[in-house]
Every structure is written in structure tokens, then in C-alpha cells.
Symmetry: C2
Subunit: 390 residues, 2 copies
């Protein structure tokens, strides 16, 4: 069912997610007009786009995937699922709006706006950020592009933004907030391994927290020094040892729910008290910070404060961080990503799928499991469904 495809088409496919006010999720491929790039924009024919954990939230919302049903809309596949009533409150803001999905991707610039910066990218392979990447075409402002180094493919550059800038953002946040070492959870993920490589290269001590013994092995095989397994019975004392050894007082936690954030603060406090500061009933005066940047653990966040008063917990998100550091700060980070794309910032993919395969229930079951080592890459140019007029 592949289709001969040229850039002269005026209509192309885009993946869309819709949650209706009565609690029905529909994901579909929709023919949409190929956009005309504005002066400072380029039109990118996408060739590779990763499925990041952060994409799944928009793609499926609060839908219960056990109710998923495959359907079709003519030649194009669709899926539907129910959103539980209790979850509809949190979906109210998007109800009835058909939304494009896909934070990032990479492809070839096939048209460019009039500006010199846009024209300079014509014919080049670029990574892009800004949403709607699960599509055949995307018009993107030049600032949201990263020119890939000579010889790098779209596949090499597909994950140039979200994971690399998140990992660099964590290190930058650590420095700006006056900490000297850091903690990361879900540390065996693509992002976690990238953060390990950055810290190893930059000489920053990193405490890796994982959830399974085999992930300890994986990280050790990559050269990680401090790896703590939260499923082990001696997790808390081992974590305290690692925190005492590194002096880490800031953590980035992908699990979000459950007790882990509080446990990290508590162990940081124990590690600090080993230094023998004089007793204060308010605890150590050293500020301890945990940023929750994901929600892998769906339980409520819970802690019993035994870590004094000098602590903070909060959300951390890439885009507000990038706004905070401003265009010059962002440009520096992007340049580093381009310079080290095939080393520090290399991503692994378990499987490459087409846009149509994204809507197959068995494929969804695999990529929605968010398992370590199960990162999927979409090739929007692959196996296109036959579409009248395309």
C-alpha cells in the first residue's frame, strides 16, 4: 500500500487525537493541507519522529487503553477508547479539540520562506521541535530547527531536542541552583543513559536510581559509578551512601508518584547529617530539591517529612526552562547537541514503524508500555496508506 510521493502535493497525512466531551478518545490519520512556510519558516518532509513518554500524554490523554478498539475511516485506520468519567475533569481543557501530536522529529527541508536563515536550510536535513511531528509535513520556524551535521541522517537526528535538551537542562539547572552533583530516577532510560554520558564527560557525579537488578547491570556496563536499585531491600541505606559520597542535593524524578521523591529528600538529609552539623530541630540548613518531571508511577505522591525545612519539590518542564535561559542559552545547548550527536546524544530505537502502524492495537500495546529499551521511531514516509488525491 505504499504510494509514490512528491513534494508537490497539497494534502498530506497528519496524526490527530480527539477526546469528545462525552469521554471518547479517537486517534486518526487525517488529510490536512500541506502548509506554506512563512518568511522565517521552513517546510520539512518528516522522515523520523520518536515516541517519547511525553508524547503519550497528548496522544491518549486519560483514556483507558484496555477499552481500545480499532476501526477505519475509509482507507485510513482509526482507534477509539473510553475516557473514565472521573478523568474527564482533567481533560476538560482539550475536549472537542482535534489535536496534532509528536513533539519532535527530523527530515528534509523541501521548501523555505524568504528569509536568509530559512533559505540557508533548503535541501538540508534538520531536526525540529514544536509539536505535530507525527505527520508527513510540518512548517517550522527556523529557531525550532537544528541543522544536523554533515552525514547525519534524519534517523540520527530525530531525538535531537527532547531528550538531549532535557538532560542538558537538568545539569544546567543543577549548576544554576547551586548544587554540585545530581540524582536521576528511571536512570536506565534513553534519557538516563544520555545524562550518564553527559555527566561522565563533564566530570559531574551522578546517582542513578533504577527499578530492576538488570538495569543496575546495564548502567554499570556503561561505566556508571553510583547505581541504586529501588526494588532492593537495602535501597535506602545504599542511596544514602551514594548521596554522602557524591554530595548530591538535587534530584530529577521521572516517577512522580509514590514515595520515591520523599525518600530521596530523606536520604539526602541523612547524608548531610553525617557531616556532623550542630543539631537543629529544623534539620540541615542545606537546601534539598527534587524535581518531578514525569509520572511513571500513577500513585499519589506521598512523603512523611523527616528532612527538615530546607527542601523543595516541584514540577520541571523543558520548555519553561528553555524560556528561562533565553535564546543565547538555548543556542549553546543546541550547538552541543549537534557537535556530539553521534556520541553523547545518540538514541537507540527498538523498532521503526509507520504512521498507520501507530494505530494498530498490538503496536500500541508495545509502545504504550514505556518499557526501558522499547523506544519507537516513526517514519512518516513509510508504507503510506493509499489516499485518494495524494
Amino acid at each position: 500500500m505504499s504510494t509514490d510521493f512528491t513534494d508537490s502535493h497539497t494534502t498530506a497525512l497528519q496524526l490527530r487525537s480527539l477526546i469528545t466531551a462525552d469521554g471518547r478518545l479517537q486517534v486518526s490519520l487525517e488529510p490536512v493541507p500541506v502548509p506554506e512556510p512563512a518568511d522565517n519558516e521552513v517546510l520539512v518532509r518528516l522522515q523520523a519522529a520518536p515516541i517519547n513518554p511525553s508524547d503519550l500524554g497528548l496522544l491518549f490523554g486519560a483514556a483507558d487503553l484496555s477499552t481500545l478498539q480499532a476501526g477505519d475511516n475509509g482507507d485510513l485506520p482509526t482507534i477509539t477508547a473510553r475516557v473514565p468519567d472521573a478523568a474527564m475533569k482533567s481533560m476538560a481543557g482539550r475536549a472537542g479539540q482535534s489535536m496534532p501530536v509528536g513533539n519532535e522529529g527530523a527530515g528534509r527541508v523541501v521548501r523555505a520562506g524568504a528569509s536568509p536563515a530559512a533559505q540557508a536550510l533548503l535541501g538540508k536535513t534538520v531536526a525540529v521541535i514544536g509539536g505535530a511531528a507525527y505527520a508527513q509535513y510540518r512548517a517550522v520556524p527556523v529557531e525550532q530547527c537544528l541543522l544536523l551535521p554533515e552525514g547525519a541522517s534524519a534517523r540520527d537526528g530525530a531525538s535531537s531536542f527532547v531528550n538531549p535538551l532535557t538532560a542538558l537542562g537538568m545539569v544546567e539547572t543543577m549548576k544554576r541552583e547551586g548544587h554540585h552533583a545530581l540524582v536521576h530516577t528511571a536512570a536506565a532510560s534513553n534519557l538516563g543513559r544520555m545524562l550518564h554520558r553527559i555527566c561522565a564527560k563533564d566530570g559531574i557525579a551522578l546517582v542513578n536510581i533504577v527499578r530492576k537488578p538488570e538495569q543496575v547491570e546495564l548502567l554499570r556496563s556503561l561505566g556508571a559509578t553510583h547505581v541504586c536499585d529501588s526494588s532492593a531491600s537495602d535501597f535506602l541505606p545504599k542511596l544514602t551512601d551514594a548521596l554522602a559520597a557524591t554530595g548530591a542535593t538535587i534530584a530529577f524524578d521521572a516517577t512522580g508518584g509514590g514515595p520515591l521523591g520523599g525518600q530521596i529528600l530523606s536520604c539526602m538529609e541523612s547524608a548531610l547529617s553525617r557531616r556532623g552539623e550542630p543539631y537543629s530541630r529544623y534539620g540541615s540548613s542545606t537546601h534539598k530539591q527534587v524535581y518531578l518531571y514525569g509520572r511513571l508511577d500513577a500513585r499519589p505522591t506521598e512523603f512523611r517529612n523527616d528532612f527538615g525545612m530546607a527542601w523543595g519539590m516541584g514540577g520541571w518542564l523543558l520548555f519553561p526552562f528553555l524560556q528561562k535561559i533565553g535564546p543565547e542559552g538555548v543556542a549553546k545547548l543546541k550547538q552541543r547537541v549537534a557537535d556530539e550527536l553521534s556520541t553523547t546524544f545518540a538514541s537507540d530505537y527498538a523498532r521503526e514503524i509507520s504512521l498507520a502502524e501507530m494505530l494498530q492495537p498490538d503496536v500500541i500495546a508495545a509502545y504504550a508500555s514505556r518499557s526501558t529499551g522499547q523506544k519507537f521511531l516513526i517514519d512518516p514516509a513509510k508504507d503510506l496508506p493509499a489516499l485518494p488525491g495524494l
Copy 2:
């Protein structure tokens, strides 16, 4: 049992709290040398010292007050109680150290060091901060004194620091962190009523959260506009209404444990979403902050994040805040306290007790209950136990 008392004594009484390594709390009155003031210090004969909630933590630690037993050490009373084994970890830093208690108080300067600033205070009535205020004498650096206005008694000035500077510190933190209105819990407390008076005077919108219907009445009788009762069935919608009306995006929570902090963030998010920002799966981009400054609720802190990614929770403590704003900032706040001591910063006391009465089980039961309207004042010069050599 009162004793004739002059300032020529070299020994005087001080209240001490000790937790032994084997889990026994002992609170006692100890004869200690009357300190000689250093160059920049004054010696204050204390005449009034409040029992603040923040004093109880040091006074009783994690002891189980249901195991409290009265005793004596010669003429001087003592009490003892057990610290549960599970709580001893958090007491490790103070185990075996006899600690003086009492954050603040007021009294007359009876001796002064050589510095002009110290000499200027000789014979004056001052409020003092810095610990060890449950004592007959205390030597204090001049910076930790506040000269009370003409005509103000030690009783009037006993609570010049902790509550006034905490309430002013909350308003100052609100401004420095870019918020325009604030939320306060346990709002019927002395501190809460003080904050209400500050906000009313300064034209700042304040959302008061209380736990009982009669506290709603109390605050309304004082002129409060927004008062929400967390025991009411419509607490969350009413809180959301008040947050929407005021635009408050920062809260100071004295309860610390339980769901309240998360509920406030959640209602802030709902209030923000009424403004009709475009949908983002990351929630509103407006930062929402809850500072936990007390621990009236002993349950674990728990929340289910339905308030997006732009949020923070953390400890808030007066002394680090004062350090952050520096000596000039502190001097400004202190001046305001002195100027409005009998109006904005007036405190009410339910009962006045002696140092010896502090160690009577029935009195402890009353002041340790932390009930609204049950603030106690200690007069260290009252009913002194007969002490050989004093």
C-alpha cells in the same frame, strides 16, 4: 515559694530539654551561670516569653506526651516522657545534649557590653530573639534585640519577633516571588489574625483557610473577606471561588501533613483554568507555590498531581528568610513591628504561667494542644522556686 531577686546573682534558672540516647525525654529547670555580656551584647532579665508552636518541637521533641511523668530534682520540678523507638532516628542529632528552649521573649536590659549600641539599651525594655528565652537571664547580641516603643511593657513586646516577622516574611516572600495575593491556613491563629491585619492595611487579598465553622465567624468578625472552612462539604469549590476572585497563587500552610497542600495547588489550577488559557497537557504555565511552614497535621503529606507542571512545594522557615533579605531588609521589618506593636502586631494570651508551671502536667496538656486562642505567656520572674544560692 517566691524569692527576692536582684541582678547581682551569678546563678539563675533556665529551662532545659534533654533526650537521652535510650529514648527518654527530661525537661527540667537548671541553675546556670548568669552570662556576662560581650562588647556588643546586653544582659536581659526576661519578664515575658510566649510559647509558640515552633517552641514545642524543641521542648518535647518526638516524645509521647501520654507517657509524661512529673518528678523533681530537689526543689525544682522536672518531667520525663518516653520517645518512641521509631522516632529516635529523627532525634539522633540532639541525643544526649541538654538544650535551652524559647525562641523569643522580652525584658529589661540590666547590664550592657562596652559598645555604644549595647550601652544605649541599658535600662530599656527590649524584645529578644535567638533561643534560651525560657530563662531568667539571657545575654543577646544587639542585632537580636528590638527596642520597644515608649510605654510598651515586656508583655506587649514578648511576641515581637516570631509571629510578626513570620507574617511580614510571608507577604515579602509573596512579593519577591512575583505573586499578588496569598493563601494562609490555620488562619484563625494569632499569626493568622496578624497576617489578616497586615494584608487589610496593605491592600493585599488574602484567602484564609480554617478548620472549624466558629473560626469562620471569628475571622469574619475581624473583617476578613475570604474565609474557607476545610471541614465544610463545599470546601474545594469555595476555595476555588476565592482563589479565582483573588488570583492568589502562593500559599503558606501550617498543617504540613495530609492532603491540604495538594488541594490548594489543585484549586489554584482550577481557578487559573477559568481564565480560559489554551489547553496544554502540562497545565497552566502560571507557577503555583505552597510553602509548608508548620506541621499541625501529623499525617504524611499526600497529593495526586492534577495541577500541571508549574508548581512547587517546600519548607519555609523564618531564619533562612531573614538571612536572605539581609540586615537592611530585617531592620525595615523590625521597625514596622515597633511602629505598629499595639495595633497590627498585638498578641492575645489565654494564660500567663511561671517557669515552674511550664512543667506541670495539667498545664502542659493545655499549652501542648496548640488550640486556637490558647496561646500561653511565660513570666520567668513569677513565683520562682526557692533555690539555694539564688
